[in-house]
Subunit: 232 residues, 2 copies
């Protein structure tokens, strides 16, 4: 079955093949799609499964169903994207949404040296990520986190991964052939990474990659880097 809509239900709401839908999904099922008991919809648990689910109860207060078929997906290539926090909220949120569509597995919003002192709205980010996996029919829900130090991000995630830093400066290389190995992708905030951060990344084994000769905004560089990493 290939339904247009994919719903998201966290794994802990799925017990013995029975599903109880969270409020937002339930609203969508009842009010927008006007589904009835017996209808079959598709659900992902965000950990690799897409399920055909037959609705049992469809009520304003409760929507429940049972799994009738399960499709297990292969794990996706490990792609951690660390992005410097930028001032314009809609641009940061756009970067998050696009990263999810383009196959990121973990998003790290970093308050790097030149990042803006912005407060991250966790609820918004969660909502955008869930909405993006549904939209793009991805059965894996990427994790995300906020970090205060660029150096800690490198320390925590570089091992076992190719570290790729997008950089608009002349020292970057165009010579990058992405493959399926795990990657930590680094994209600076509006002012870019500081010299100290770039140096530290290089010492940590990062490859400095140029994304064309134009200066790209943070969210554009994030899209481009993930496109190259995942679609080439």
């Amino acid at each position: 079955m290939k339904e247009h809509f994919l719903f998201y239900v966290p794994p802990d709401e799925i017990l013995d093949q029975k599903i109880s839908f969270p409020e937002e999904e339930a609203n969508h099922i009842v009010k927008v799609l006007r589904k009835r008991p017996g209808d079959v919809i598709q659900v992902t648990d965000g950990v690799g499964n897409i399920m055909d689910v037959r609705l049992i109860e469809v009520d304003k207060n409760r929507v429940a169903g049972e799994v009738v078929k399960n499709y297990t997906s292969l794990a996706e290539p490990d792609r951690i994207l660390a992005i410097g926090v930028i001032r314009q909220r809609e641009r940061l949120e756009f970067a998050v949404e696009k990263a999810v569509e383009l196959g990121v597995t973990r998003i790290v919003l970093v308050h790097s040296e030149y990042a803006e002192k912005m407060q991250i709205k966790a609820k918004r980010i969660n909502k955008i990520i869930i909405s993006a996996i549904k939209q793009s029919r991805r059965p894996w829900l990427p994790a995300w986190e906020e970090r205060d130090s660029f150096y800690d991000v490198l320390a925590d995630y570089k091992d076992g991964r190719k570290v790729i830093m997008a950089h608009s400066q002349e020292e970057g290389t165009y010579d990058w052939k992405p493959d399926d190995s795990p990657m930590l992708l680094l994209v600076g905030p509006e002012g870019g990474f500081s010299e100290k951060e770039v140096e530290h990344a290089v010492v940590s084994g990062a490859k400095i990659v140029r994304l064309g000769q134009k200066r790209l905004r943070t969210e554009t560089a994030a899209c481009a880097l993930l496109t190259l990493a995942n679609l080439m």
Copy 2:
């Protein structure tokens, strides 16, 4: 000289190396950057030149300068992007902005079969394109237009170009090696291209390219396609 800001002045405002700045740029120079006579700023005419310009008059009512140095840029690869019109205005505008950053040379907003009946705000699109060339320091101003027929777009632009259509369906290929030849890139609206449109594109020699296994939104597919065409 490598200034952070790049201003845009249309070629007809540049006469005998003298420049009279349009109102919006003049405001930026006077009120935001607080430049004075004698200061040198960088200007593009959108047709391949970046100029160092010494300011002569800096006044609320008039900002003028003279070209002291001219850097001519090589022409960029021909990249026409035709995108189906989508409902959410900010997503369409985002696609336009990103296309400019990623090196599009002409944007065609197409009212294809499944496109939304949206009115395009020409002033907004102009503003976004100008702002994006300034931001990304591109000395070429991409043209744009609105078209009612997908078939006319193909008829007008396919000759002499490789035609590449992004498509999420199984029939698409991953086997695409972009090069510098002129390209017409086609990205459908939310509902995709119609079967008739796809068939017509194929008959016209289009290559149907898949952008990964996920379903990408229109603006994401536009970013990804241009990234692959220009940054690989």
